[in-house]
Amino acid sequence: MSKLEKSLVEWIEQGIIDVSQADRIRLYESQKPEGGWSISGPLILGVVIIGVGIISLIAANWRFIPDTLKLISAFLILASLAIAAFRTHVQRDSLKFDALIIFFALMCLATIGLISQVFHTGGKLEHAFLFWCGITFGVIFTARRGFLPFLWIVALTLSLAAVSFDFLVDLRKINDALRYVDGLHIVAMTIPLLSLTLTTGSRFIVGESPTTRAFQQWTILCVVGSLVSAQILFHSTRNNSYFLKAYLPAYILFLLAIFIIYNNKGYKSIQKHLYTIALIFYFLVFHAGFVGINHALGIAILNILAFMAIAFSFASIKERKYFQYFLVIVGIEFVYIYLQAFGGLASTGLGLVLSGALLVWMTILWKRNKNEIALRIERWLE
């Protein structure tokens, strides 16, 4: 018996719904597009494996096939996939359509590899990925599911991170004071801002689509990763030098993100203010040394404030799952602060017992009251 069916039987027994309501729910659910990860997951995985296999085959040097034939075949496959995708779109078969556009996008990447091989072109891998991101920018907005947009934004941000780091290394030749670790610090700060700008831009232009949600998921991962890296790198970057040219892209993206958020009529005032506060705390973490915060505890507190602002931002749009994730991260940061503040004790058994007990107590408290806490915060923010 499926999960839905079990729930319906239980609700009927409890008198929450009657039999006719249960039938209407069954009918409604059966008419939804088929999918869920049990079907689309293996299908997408199969398509990705095929795509990677094609890329590998191309990379294996088909020296026995003339270059012209290889190129013509690649373009014919691309054209066929494009036509097939268009036809499944017209027929409204969303699962097949998604599989085909993923295949199409990966085939574009395979063709870039083929052209590189046929003409022995040089250049770095990140340049190839950036070119791929450029030509498939429109394709990601046709996706019904978030897999392709997620893959796209990961490729874009990581490629730009690689290019940015190369640029900063070149900048270092002009200013020796800019260290490699400073470069990492700046890239870690800037890339999540790029992802955030793309997310807010996507939300502004196309609304809550699978693409926007995929961008949002990657932004969240980037933000958490970058704030954690700022904490880890803190000791190395404490006396970092300020070089405006290196920080400028981050400032531009920050202003762009704020501009888009404030011009999006879909956000309430409280949401706009919360996003701005979260961004300011985020910025402060990466400029801690310049504002006189020179202690690991200070960074951890700034991180907590940033994570809490982000958590409340999600609560204001009733994204309870993300609100809870960020509160968990805040809890872990509190444990870190405790260990920092009582460093001597932490090395003893008593300190470990106390910190473990604190974590257990917070977890139980949260489990018992999370829904009520979330609901109160959502109402307060309305």
């Binding site: 890329i55 590998s56 191309i58 990379a59 294996a60 040097n61 020296r63 190129l71 373009f75 691309l78 054209a79 494009a82 995708a85 268009f86 779109h89 017209v90 199409f104 574009c108 063709t111 870039i112 590899g113 052209i115 590189s116 091989q117 046929v118 003409f119 022995h120 072109t121 040089g122 250049g123 891998l125 190839a128 450029g134 030509i135 498939t136 429109g138 394709v139 907005f141 046709t142 996706a143 019904r144 070149d170 030749k173 196309v206 689509s209 699978p210 693409t211």
Partner: protein, 157 residues
């Protein structure tokens, strides 16, 4: 999310056109460019996505960039083997590149794809200085590698 049929056609056609233009540009340089043979020295890194390729440098390209900053775009005149930061007007064949630690680098012609089983042997021959590349160069200094020669003969032989 794009729902319109016209928009869908446009986003599906654009990548194909972009890739076709890229192919056409490279093929044009290969077909109509000036052919020149350049001796090379090098090594062989590996890359999963790009297959197996040889990476090398144009022989005697070290010190060509003395006095130029790293990553600066420069032009190598292949007739005189001299570098300038401006497009040479009197040079018949020149290649665009950049400077790196006083060496001239032309990323567009410093890579050649070979079958995996041949890579080690070819690498040794290049290291010994027995190899050269035939390059096709356009009027604008864009270059495409046509062939890898070992002892003056195509590597496949």
């Amino acid at each position: 999310m794009i729902e319109s049929k016209k928009a869908l056609i446009v986003v599906l056609i654009l990548p194909i056109i972009a890739l076709f233009i890229l192919t056409f540009k490279k093929q044009s340089v290969k077909a109509f460019g000036h052919k020149i043979e350049l001796p090379i020295t090098g090594y062989d890194p590996r890359d999963l996505l790009a297959g197996h390729y040889l990476v090398y440098r144009i022989k005697d390209s070290e010190q060509l960039c003395s006095g130029f900053q790293d990553s600066k775009e420069v032009f190598l005149c292949l007739n005189t083997m001299s570098v300038s930061d401006k497009r040479p007007t009197s040079c018949k064949i020149f290649v665009r590149g950049e400077c790196f630690h006083n060496s001239f680098r032309a990323p567009s012609i410093e890579r050649y794809y070979v079958p995996q089983e041949q890579a080690a042997k070819l690498e040794q021959l290049i290291q010994r200085g027995n190899a050269s590349i035939v390059v096709s160069v356009s009027e604008q200094g864009e270059a495409v590698v046509e062939e890898l020669l070992v002892n003056g003969v195509r590597w496949q032989r």
